[in-house]
């Protein structure tokens, strides 16, 4: 059984066995029972100055994505479940959970004594109120809303037990109630969440000036401890310093203005590692992927021969070298090779420009005008689009590339006002978050992408959602992905990775393999600054 199967997809017996082991693990190290005296580590502390490429667009974590890779404000929150350093779903505020036989309801048992930053205890009522707020379509963002859409009603079984009743069988729920994005806010502070958010995370809010500074201080009553029983986190304070420009962020690191940064530019990585390995630690977590979307709603790509030709025309190696400077992996599916959800039996189209040309001739489509859109403000997206444009032109298409700002692109996407689109996805802790959301015919997001419909694909993905066993789910996803590889609503290009760098004075820090800077037993929870 692989690591991932210990968490998101378990047989009942395995689940109970693993949960018992986890609870034993709790006693040995990581989580102190309520009765244990909390204590600070006598020597570890300091102020982390965290330079990020991004900044939150708002403080209300139910309205605005608090991206746990690049928004320091995400350190305010934890969720019912958590992730460990390998990206596995592990207990968080909920110490255990189990589904009914049909997977139509899940019972979560909450850890006692977990507090919000305002001192209120996290109980079943608080969980219910949070879920209801996220489900409010006028509040929950598209991301939040879609993640827990299978939750129909929430019952408070007792003070520390909550039951989610689902609209359909759903094996993925534990992954979807993790702090990203289903984080918990203090219900009394819902109305002031945009000014002063109150979460349950290891740090609490002090101030936020957008694109300038985020200040967080240690939450002394955070529930997690280290193996010696010392309270986490160690750090006294985190100061988030968003710096959009890659060179500015890197300079700030090298001049000591920040001691941790994310998203080093791909072009800088190798040279930096060679020159400064003695002064800095680097990591390369996986973030997601980039892919081509073919529009099925209108335009020339409604013809499968043209889609196939376009796919054969793409040389992923060229994108790997020119856009990503050798960072990350060429991908023909959502999950990279090292990931438990990587599909071994997937068959993707290879680079074959001659075949592309002959397909176009056969379809009498040489010189077909193609309108491609991409994000103007995302360098990897824009550059990938430019290379794809060149490749398609070389085999006989006539491609016009329109880089667009976010909103005009969203509008064009919604209206289907494109033939090809370069899109990206962030990591999904459960594959249903990708396979269903991006490609199922009933998904609004999928409809706004390719608009593709395939009944067999839909059935396979729906069936996978009803299974706990990861091996069985992978089989279904493999079959589903092979349909995608033939019909080509999407064509995957490359993995997105992030290079995260910390000065050597930052001790005890390792990001999660999927990029989160806050995770169980690690990240900023165990980081400290060496004096």
């Amino acid at each position: 059984m692989n690591r991932h199967s210990q968490t998101t997809a378990l047989s009942r017996r395995t689940f109970l066995t693993t949960t018992s082991a986890a609870l034993v693990g709790v006693a040995l190290g990581g989580l102190a029972p309520e009765s244990a005296a909390a204590q600070r580590h006598p020597k570890r502390g300091g102020v982390l100055q965290f330079g990020t490429r991004l900044d939150a667009s708002g403080l209300d974590s139910h309205r605005h994505n608090q991206y746990h890779n690049s928004h320091p404000i995400a350190a305010l929150y934890t969720g019912l479940t958590d992730i460990d350093q390998q990206g596995n779903i592990v207990p968080g505020i909920a110490e255990s959970w189990e589904p009914n036989k049909e997977l139509t309801s899940w019972v979560f048992r909450l850890r006692k004594g977990v507090l919000f930053h305002n001192g209120r205890e996290v109980d079943a009522e608080a969980v219910k109120l949070n879920i209801l707020r996220i489900k409010d379509p006028a509040i929950g963002s598209e991301w939040h809303h879609g993640t827990i859409k299978s939750i129909d009603t929430v019952d408070m079984v007792d003070k520390y037990t909550v039951r989610f009743n689902l609209s359909e069988p759903d094996a993925t729920l534990p992954a979807n109630v993790m702090h990203y994005p289903t984080n918990l806010q203090a219900p009394e502070a819902f109305d002031t969440a945009s000014e002063h958010p109150i979460g349950t995370g290891p740090f609490k809010f002090v101030s936020w000036t957008r694109w300038s500074e985020t200040r967080l201080v240690r939450f002394d009553n955070y529930w997690e401890t280290d193996s010696d029983g010392n309270n986490l986190p160690y750090l006294d304070e985190i100061i988030g310093k968003p710096k959009k420009e890659d060179s500015v962020r890197l300079t700030a690191l090298r001049t000591g203005q920040i001691n941790l940064m994310d998203n080093m530019a791909y072009a800088d990585v190798e040279r930096f590692k060679k020159s400064y390995a003695d002064k800095y630690n680097t990591w390369h977590p996986h973030l997601g992927g980039v892919f081509v979307v073919f529009n099925f709603r209108q335009g020339p790509f409604q013809d499968q021969r043209l889609r196939t030709a376009a796919a054969h025309a793409i040389d992923r190696q060229a994108i790997h070298n020119s856009v990503f400077y050798g960072q990350g992996d060429m991908l023909d599916q959502p999950y990279p090779r090292a990931n438990p959800w990587h599909l071994e039996g997937s068959r993707s189209l290879e680079y074959d420009p001659d075949k592309a040309k002959s397909l176009l001739k056969e379809a009498r489509a040489v010189g077909t005008a193609i309108e491609m859109i991409c994000y103007a403000n995302l360098a990897y997206n824009r550059e990938s689009a430019q290379i794809v444009q060149e490749m398609w032109n070389n085999v006989g298409f006539k491609v016009t590339l329109k880089p667009l700002d976010d909103l005009p692109l969203l509008e064009a996407q919604k209206k289907g006002d494109f033939h090809g689109l370069i899109q990206g996805n962030s990591y999904r802790f459960d594959p249903d978050g990708f396979f269903e959301r991006n490609l199922h015919s009933k998904s609004d997001y999928a409809r706004s992408l390719s608009g593709w419909r395939n009944e067999r694909y839909d059935r396979l993905v729906e069936e996978a959602k009803r299974l706990l066993d990861p091996a069985q789910r992978k089989e279904l996803y493999t079959e589903a992905w092979n349909i995608v590889n033939v019909e080509l609503p999407h064509f995957h290009l490359h993995e997105l990775t992030m290079t995260s760098v910390a000065a050597k004075e930052v001790k005890g820090y390792t990001p999660c393999v999927v990029g989160s800077f806050t995770h169980r037993g690690g990240g900023i929870r165990t980081a400290y600054i060496e004096a």
């Binding site: 209300d60 309205r63 006028a138």
Partner: protein, 317 residues
């Protein structure tokens, strides 16, 4: 002069009203919908949800009603409303950032004048000498160099390699004057150098015009020291166009320093306005433009009043 000042302040009212109408109309003509930017696609296309959101944000009324309500709130309550994106009070957001923008703009213009006036004057006095050619070439180079390129170059040289100055960030002069000035050098310098290039050429040509006038010959023939002729009499008259341009440059800097603010992590209004435009945050855009425009008009008034000080013969109004 008092009457003129009052007259100019009163003129602000119709200017401001007209500006508010233009800003409001232009912003609502932008492609892209604020509701689409805020909520899921399925919610945005759900009529009930859309209606509820439009009501909450006041977008359900006809445009002229929205305009009237918005204007009423500002005039009677000083309330610019809440940002659609962050849901925070706009007044707090903008007025918290405005001092940083004004500080940067003022310092950049001062830097430019400190460079441009002496350089332009010397170039005019030493016309067609090596000094003049050097000053003109420097000015040409300054005009040609993009601000963001110069900014990044300055960071690499002064912050990274020499370690003399900090690379970015802002400190209020009221919190820590020393740190504030240290952090101001690079952003104000990169902006100021480019402005100085334009102002140098203007000062030079303005000085050349003044130097040729009869009163200068008269002053010299009266035996006044050359330094006094140039700096006390000629320069004062030559500065009027320079002051005008400095005022316009200041106004441009108020809203036009997005790139420099991004590079130096400067918490100014420029970057806020840019983000608001990208997110179709209508109330924030309207408020930011109005506030900047008002500051600009006040600055124009200040420039006009400066003319009187430079040349008491000028009668305003």
């Amino acid at each position: 002069m008092l009457r003129y000042t009052i007259y100019r302040v009163l003129q602000l009212i119709p200017v401001w009203l007209l500006l508010s109408m233009v800003v409001f109309a232009m912003i609502h003509a932008l492609p892209g919908d604020a509701i689409d930017a805020l909520v899921p696609a399925d919610a945005a296309s759900n009529p009930a949800t859309r209606a509820a959101l439009e009501k909450e944000l006041g977008l359900d009324k006809p445009l002229y009603v929205q305009y009237a309500k918005w204007l009423e709130r500002i005039v009677l309550h000083g309330d610019f409303g809440r940002s659609i994106t962050t849901r925070r009070t706009i007044s707090v957001e903008i007025f918290r950032r405005l001092p940083a923008t004004v500080y940067l703009a003022t310092t950049a213009v001062c830097v430019s004048l400190l460079i441009a006036i002496p350089l332009g004057t010397i170039a005019a006095v030493k016309r067609r000498t090596i000094v003049d050619y050097a000053a003109t070439a420097t000015a040409l180079l300054g005009v040609s160099v993009p601000e963001f390129w110069l900014a990044i170059l300055c960071i690499l040289l002064f912050a990274l390699h020499l370690g003399w100055l900090p690379a970015s960030e802002y400190y209020s002069p009221f919190d820590n004057l020393r740190l504030s000035l240290l952090h101001m050098v690079l952003p104000a310098g990169s902006l100021g150098v480019r402005l100085a290039a334009i102002t140098t050429r203007l000062t030079r040509s303005s000085m050349l015009d003044e130097i040729r006038k009869e009163y200068v010959d008269t002053a010299r023939s009266l035996g006044l020291p050359e330094r006094r002729v140039i700096y006390t009499y000629t320069l004062r008259n030559a500065l009027i166009p320079t002051v005008t341009v400095a005022g316009l440059q200041f106004a441009r800097l108020l809203g036009g320093t997005v790139v420099v603010e991004t590079i130096f992590s400067w918490p100014g209004v420029g970057l806020t306005l840019y983000e608001a435009i990208m997110g179709r945050d209508y109330p924030m855009i309207q408020a930011a433009i109005l506030i900047l425009a008002t500051t600009f008009v006040m600055m124009s008034l200040l420039v006009d009043l400066t003319y009187c000080w430079l040349n008491p013969r000028i009668r305003l109004g």
